[in-house]
């Protein structure tokens, strides 16, 4: 399956929130939808789920207009909630039935997911009797009911402890392996980096980056070298010496050392020779591959 988001615009009153955004998501590859607070992630997802109606543009699934209520979709809204005063199993089964499952299948699916999250003892307890973390697990479970073909998860990791986050990551990985189409938004870059094959970065209602995560990392790291010293105190002075020795080289101090941007010049061998001649206490020197956090800060940090 291929989901295409084409030129979506959305305004609230006079304020345009989405300025004609486009990207695509393919099944069998998890897509991380990233952006700062208020960038337009949840608005995009709500338009996709037909909670809001976009002002223009369209969503296509395999070339046809995407109709969320006619698909088997697991949806986890950003502001999630369920019936606090109802028993857990019947209400999960209720949500599954609303998405087309038969009563028997709905109860089976609900029961299986409750067991999966190790909350089997609470099936016939009211949701309000669970701790906040366990309530979160039940809310996530509702998105997985009824074997969805598409998973749309808005900030799924928020509120999860590391153990549950790992369980959740494994679950998403399982869905991806089954060839499902998975989109999720998150602020937690490390989780996205671990789970996602593709990322889309939205900033102030515009898509600033979209595509294969590894390729993006390579492109963002192209012409850049990472250098770090055993004695970090010498890093700044070394940066100045290098930029003097190699005209056109840009040096940026980072936590681990220096990022050297060669501006397209093939300087790796020359710099290595120069470093050997200077007898600096070198700890690491090689191609630079930025983390997703680095890319995120680089793309949207200074613009905000």
């Amino acid at each position: 399956m291929k989901l295409e988001v084409q030129n979506i615009t959305k305004s609230f009153g006079d304020k345009e929130i989405l300025h004609g955004i486009s990207f695509e998501v393919n099944s069998g590859r998890a897509m991380g939808f990233l952006g700062r607070n208020g960038a337009g992630k949840s608005t995009t997802i709500r338009c996709l789920m037909d909670v809001f109606h976009q002002d223009s543009g369209r969503f296509l699934l395999d070339g046809a207009v995407f109709k969320p209520r006619k698909m088997r979709i697991g949806y986890l809204p950003e502001e999630r909630g369920m019936y606090q005063k109802n028993d857990i199993l019947p209400q999960l089964a209720y949500f599954a039935m609303l998405r087309g499952a038969s009563k028997k299948d709905a109860y089976q699916s609900a029961s299986d997911w409750i067991d999966y999250f190790e909350l089997g003892d609470y099936k016939n307890k009211k949701l309000e009797t669970l701790s906040k973390g366990n309530q979160q697990k039940i809310q996530i479970a509702q998105a997985f009911l009824n074997e969805p073909d598409i998973l749309i998860l808005d900030e799924p990791f928020s509120g999860l402890d590391p153990v549950n986050a790992q369980v959740f990551k494994d679950t998403i990985a399982g869905f991806v392996k089954q060839g499902k189409l998975v989109i999720f938004s998150s602020h937690q870059m490390s989780y996205v980096e671990e789970v996602c094959d593709d990322v889309t970065l939205i900033h102030q209602g515009d898509i600033v980056l979209t595509g294969d995560l590894d390729q993006i990392k390579r492109e963002e790291g192209r012409d850049k070298l990472l250098l770090s010293l055993s004695d970090p105190r010498q890093t700044a002075a070394l940066g100045d010496q290098l930029t003097q020795a190699f005209p056109g080289l840009h040096s940026t101090p980072v936590e681990d050392g220096l990022i050297l941007d060669t501006q397209g010049q093939d300087l790796q061998g020359a710099i290595m020779g120069w470093l050997a001649g200077q007898a600096v206490p070198l700890r690491q020197f090689g191609l630079y591959e930025p983390s997703l956090t680095d890319i995120f800060i680089d793309k949207v940090g200074e613009k905000a």
């Binding site: 909670v51 969320p68 809204p77 019947p90 209720y94 609303l98 509702q142």
Partner: protein, 418 residues
């Protein structure tokens, strides 16, 4: 349709299994069962159940225990004194003067003191008089009977002659071609109160269910799973059926209680119930009450979806409460003046016809044209407000935070596509 049934079953189960609702229903059933059995219970405690026989010698009847803990001021003539002994009993103390009688009252030796004159005029003296106290009236009745007897004798008549004269009357009968207000008034009024409670109870329930869904953010999961129309119609239908089941059970208890105990009911009460519950009245009551109830449920549902927090619900639904209380007041007025212009108009407009039409139908003959017009308007309003409430529910699912004027909500809800 499948989704509608899913919502309907889930909501119905939630409504019926609500613990507070079950407790309320059980209490109401017990009260109704007790009320319908009240005449039988009273008979059980009062002995045979036959009304007390009226004896000719009322003085002796009263004296054999009718007036207890009474004393009297010794009269000057022997005839009155003998009469008082006969009425109050030989054990009743007599006092030589008013002062000693009042002292006996103050000391609580007696509870009432009588001062009777030779012409049988009397004064009853109490220290404190209880609300239900009637010993003074009893003595008055006895003395009046004796005076009447004396008067009859002075005219050469006996009490038997007097009873025969009193019993003479012209034979006649009354035929009511339409409705007999005398019989219908109370039963229609009771049924109106029943509708009043049902609408307020289940209306509040529907609005709070929806407001809670929005408050807890469950609404977003729901509207992305199925159409808003199925959700709101399912909820309203479930509340409607829950009301029918729960209040139907109470009515069933009332009917069973009536059937089991009707032999103990006074004939007037039997005539009131059986005479006014004609099939036509029952059908008109069911039609206007049911569809009016559904109309109000849609209004409650729509307004429940306009609030973001539970605490705002009361103010949001205040408008309907006001409208409904106005309908109730109009109905009570229509019960007094069923043919007035206000009552006629009120019986046609759906927001008020829910209570006014059954009241009018029970008390007077309503023309077919008025009935048809009211019924058509009721159905049209139910359809329109169902549509409007779905639109407002959809609007409400997207709007959190700032309070918005109702007129603006309606405008935006109708403008929004889908």
């Amino acid at each position: 349709m499948k989704d509608f049934l899913t919502v309907f079953k889930f909501e119905l189960k939630t409504q019926l299994l609500k613990r507070s609702g079950i407790v309320t229903m059980v209490i109401m059933m017990v009260i109704v069962a007790a009320l319908t059995s009240l005449p039988r219970i009273i008979n059980l405690f009062s002995g045979s159940g036959e009304p007390a026989a009226v004896t000719e010698d009322m003085a002796i009847n009263a004296g054999s225990g009718g007036i207890e803990k009474a004393g009297y001021l010794a009269p000057s003539d022997e005839q009155t004194q003998a009469l008082l002994v006969q009425i109050l009993g030989a054990q009743a103390p007599q006092y030589p003067d008013r002062e000693s009688l009042e002292k006996a009252l103050a000391d609580k030796d007696i509870e009432v003191g009588f001062i009777v004159n030779p012409d049988l005029s009397y004064e009853a003296v109490y220290q404190d008089r209880a609300m239900m106290e009637d010993r003074d009236t009893t003595l008055g009745t006895v003395l009046t009977g004796i005076k009447k007897e004396q008067a009859l004798i002075s005219h050469g008549l006996t009490s038997t002659d007097y009873a025969a004269i009193e019993g003479t009357k012209a034979e006649g009968r009354t035929t009511v071609l339409g409705q007999n207000s005398l019989n219908s008034y109370w039963i229609t009024f009771i049924l109106m109160i029943l509708v009043y409670f049902i609408v307020l109870m289940y209306g509040s329930s529907v609005s709070s269910i929806i407001a809670r869904e929005k408050d807890s953010r469950t609404m977003e999961i729901l509207i992305t799973s199925t159409r808003p129309g199925y959700l709101i119609i399912g909820k309203v239908a479930a509340a409607g059926l829950a009301a029918l089941i729960q209040f139907g059970s109470i009515i069933l208890v009332a009917v069973i209680g009536f059937q089991l105990n009707k032999t103990t009911y006074p004939p007037e009460l039997l005539m009131m119930v059986q005479g006014s519950l004609t099939p036509a009245y029952v059908w008109s009551y069911i039609f206007f009450s049911f569809f009016g109830f559904i109309l109000y449920l849609f209004l409650y549902a729509a307004l429940g979806s306009t609030v973001s927090k539970m605490e705002d619900l009361a103010s949001a639904t205040g408008l309907i409460q006001f409208l409904f209380v106005a309908a109730y007041m109009l109905a009570t007025m229509a019960a007094q003046m069923p043919e007035s212009t206000v009552a006629v108009v009120g019986s046609i407009i759906p927001f008020t016809s829910i209570m006014v039409m059954p009241i009018r139908f029970g008390l007077v003959t309503v023309s077919i044209s008025q009935l048809v017009l009211a019924a058509v308007l009721m159905l049209a309003f139910v359809a329109f407000f169902a549509y409007l409430s779905i639109k407002i529910y959809r609007w409400g699912s997207l709007n959190y935070g700032n309070k918005t004027k109702l007129s603006r909500i309606v405008k935006e809800a109708l403008r929004r596509e889908g």
